[in-house]
């Protein structure tokens, strides 16, 4: 069967849009596994060293707060106050000095610590030992590791049973002679040996490796393989197939797993168990529950000049990353449309969001006037009646407008709980009009300290947490059981 040229073009265009919005494969991540939350954080390279934001790292574990005093970054975690100094590797905690392996950095009021310091630094705050696989950037807090054992069954066809100590939810892909499982959100650790050799002619070996915040288990075989899940996700059975089975297929992860930006149609047995951090809810459109976070502007388009040196595009990107993190720790999958200084057109943003079938879309803006935050829904233009299945581009939002308004109200309520003034408004702001899903725009305005708040990690954190709380609260009414 061949697609007509128009459909082929549409498919290619969608793939191109998704590719342009996808974060780079080279982007570095740190995965954190704990009994409280499992999440990933971006890692940045500075002067040849890897750094991560300390406030974002510790936020799921307690009350965090930071403030700038000149070159000093005063950080409070629960009752522990620590004084870091930009450009210096010596810091002071509860009156005692300690040394970091590389200088502490401050960027846009965010405190960055060297990744190599985490093994020594985190126990000081958390009071529990941590196990840090530094080369793979995988951080295990407490006794959370998931162990795996392998058992080969010399049946015909051959079968390999992988038993995990906790339910797992990997992304699975196959290619001739190999089946690869990537564990992004599961604290899977290596079996006894990195390579397991099996006494079987069909399924020959399993190789374990880990890198960039994920573990990888690859099964090698002389025949195509298929995976199936049993025992509530604790057992993955790999079975050899007859040679006539289609070769290269790829699965999407189970509902609730970390979203890959490029998701292909599932063709291998998908896990039938709840994800570890979120229930298996689907969005009202029948697709996986994904929140689209869109930091407005970017690249050549700087947005408003908030101060002489602060551009709107930088504030929206920082806020977007924090919101991704806040949603992530609440077990909500996120597609961040811009995770760098990229230029995206409004049509690209709308096209990517619609193609991803997001459950909620949140675009982030910032302004130097007013105070608190404004939450906007679309001011729709006049359009003719909808004919057939097609929605007019400029009023595609119309069917979702009532839900958008209820989400805006929820966000305002959560912001007010955080003592942050917020109000609802409507605006003729693209791409709100062009979105098929509930969509809101959040415009962050100065706080009690004026425009300095716009780049303050604390202030942004407060706003991001309120938005995430509101979406989490609305999630059950926006989602349906599969």
């Amino acid at each position: 069967m061949s697609l007509p040229p128009t459909k082929t073009f549409a498919v290619l265009l969608t793939a191109l849009l998704l590719l342009t919005a996808a974060p780079s494969a080279d982007e570095k991540h740190l995965s954190v596994y704990s009994s409280v939350a499992t999440y990933t954080l971006p890692v940045v390279d500075r002067t040849g060293k890897e750094y991560v934001g300390l406030l974002e790292l510790l936020e799921p574990f307690g009350r965090v707060n930071s403030r700038m005093e000149g070159q000093h970054w005063k950080f409070r975690f629960n009752e522990i106050e620590t004084d870091f100094v930009a450009g210096r590797s010596r810091a002071r905690m509860r009156g005692k000095e300690f040394e970091l392996p590389a200088p502490f950095l401050i960027e846009n009021s965010r405190g960055l610590v060297p990744v190599s310091s985490l093994s020594a630094l985190l126990p000081r705050f958390l009071g529990t030992p941590v196990n840090f696989h530094e080369s793979a950037r995988r951080l295990f807090i407490g006794d959370v590791a998931t162990h795996v054992t392998a058992q080969i069954e010399n049946t015909n066809p051959a079968r390999l049973a992988l038993n995990f100590s906790s339910p797992v939810n990997p992304t699975i892909s196959t290619e001739p002679g190999k089946l690869r499982m990537v564990f992004s959100r599961d604290p899977v650790v290596a079996p006894g040996n990195q390579t397991l050799i099996f006494d079987n002619k069909t399924i020959t070996q399993a190789n374990y490796s880990e890198a960039n915040g994920a573990a990888d288990l690859t099964i090698s075989a002389a025949a195509p393989l298929m995976a199936s899940f049993t025992n509530n996700g604790r057992t993955i059975t790999i079975a050899a197939l007859a040679q006539s089975t289609p070769a290269a297929t790829e699965t999407a992860p189970a509902p609730g797993a970390t979203p890959p930006v490029l998701t292909q149609t599932p063709s291998v047995t998908a896990p039938q168990f709840p994800a570890m951090t979120s229930p298996p809810l689907l969005a009202a459109n029948g697709h996986r529950f994904i929140v689209i976070v869109d930091p407005a502007h970017g690249g050549d388009e700087r947005g408003a000049a908030l101060t002489d040196r602060l551009a709107e595009k930088d504030v929206t990107l920082g806020l977007g990353r924090l919101l991704r993190h806040e949603l992530d720790v609440r077990g909500i999958s996120v597609l961040l449309l811009r995770d760098g200084d990229a230029t995206l057109t409004l049509d690209q943003r709308a096209g990517t969001a619609n193609a991803a079938h997001g459950a909620v879309y949140v675009t982030l803006h910032a302004a130097s006037s007013g105070n608190g935050a404004r939450i906007y829904t679309a001011l729709l233009p006049i359009e003719g009646p909808i004919s057939g299945v097609f929605h007019p581009w400029n009023s595609a939002q119309a069917p979702s407008l009532a839900v958008s308004q209820s989400i805006a109200s929820e966000i305002i309520g959560e912001m007010q709980k955080q003592q942050m003034p917020a109000r609802a408004a409507v605006a003729s702001l693209r791409p709100l009009n062009n979105l098929l899903m509930p969509a809101v725009a959040v415009e962050l305005a100065p706080g009690p300290n004026g425009t300095a708040d716009l780049s303050s990690a604390n202030y942004q954190q407060k706003a991001a947490a309120a938005i995430a709380d509101a979406i989490a609260a609305k999630r059950s009414s926006l989602a349906v059981q599969p």
């Binding site: 803006h365 302004a367 006037s369 006049i382 408004a425 003729s428």
Partner: protein, 192 residues
């Protein structure tokens, strides 16, 4: 040995070059000032004539983020099109005052106002209006809403408003408010 008359000639030429460069700099500066003055040659007061009328203006207030109703006495011509243009100029003159609640650039102006199809109005802004407008969703939307609501309440029969800049479609006013489509008057007034 350089002859004396040659030395004098070189010195005179050097002084002449210095004087000329000084004179040229002054000429350039005065030309630039003239050019700037010409660019800011918009009328200070509405050039309207006709009986003075009390109208209601929707004036944006950045502090509160709302439109405030403000009665104003302005001379209004009889024609609906001229009436609409004078209303917009009256609004703009408020925004260009030093204590304006919603500052707009001094060089901003209304190039024209047209009533086209039944119920459709077109506002044509000059480039400085958009180029020097403060960027932000609220700031831009207040400007649009203020113009649309003022027209709607004082010029009956307008259902849709289109905003152009220098006679052309522009994507946004200053990075946010979408200008590529018509504004529905009932939608804007209902939102207030």
């Amino acid at each position: 040995m350089i002859p004396r008359h040659l030395k004098i000639a070189v010195a005179v030429m050097f002084v002449f070059v210095l004087c000329m460069s000084f004179y040229l700099r002054r000429m350039r500066r005065s030309a630039a000032e003239l050019q700037a003055a010409a660019a800011d040659a918009r009328p200070v007061a509405p050039p309207a004539s006709g009986p003075t009328e009390t109208v209601t203006l929707y004036v944006a207030d950045d502090g509160e983020g709302i439109l405030r109703l403000r009665p104003a006495q302005i001379p209004l011509p009889g024609g609906r099109q001229q009436r609409g243009e004078e209303l917009l100029r009256a609004l703009l003159s408020i925004y260009q005052q030093p204590d304006s609640p919603h500052p707009i650039a001094a060089a901003a102006d209304i190039r024209g106002f047209y009533l086209v199809d039944p119920g459709v109005a077109v506002i044509d802004l000059n480039a400085p209006f958009a180029d020097q407008h403060r960027s932000g969703i609220l700031d831009e939307q207040l400007t649009v809403n203020s113009m649309v609501a003022t027209l709607a309440v004082n010029v009956p029969g307008i259902n849709r408003v289109r905003i152009l800049v220098e006679g052309r479609t522009r994507d946004t006013l200053a990075g946010h408010a979408d200008l590529t489509d018509f504004f529905d008057v009932s939608g804007v007034t209902h939102a207030q």
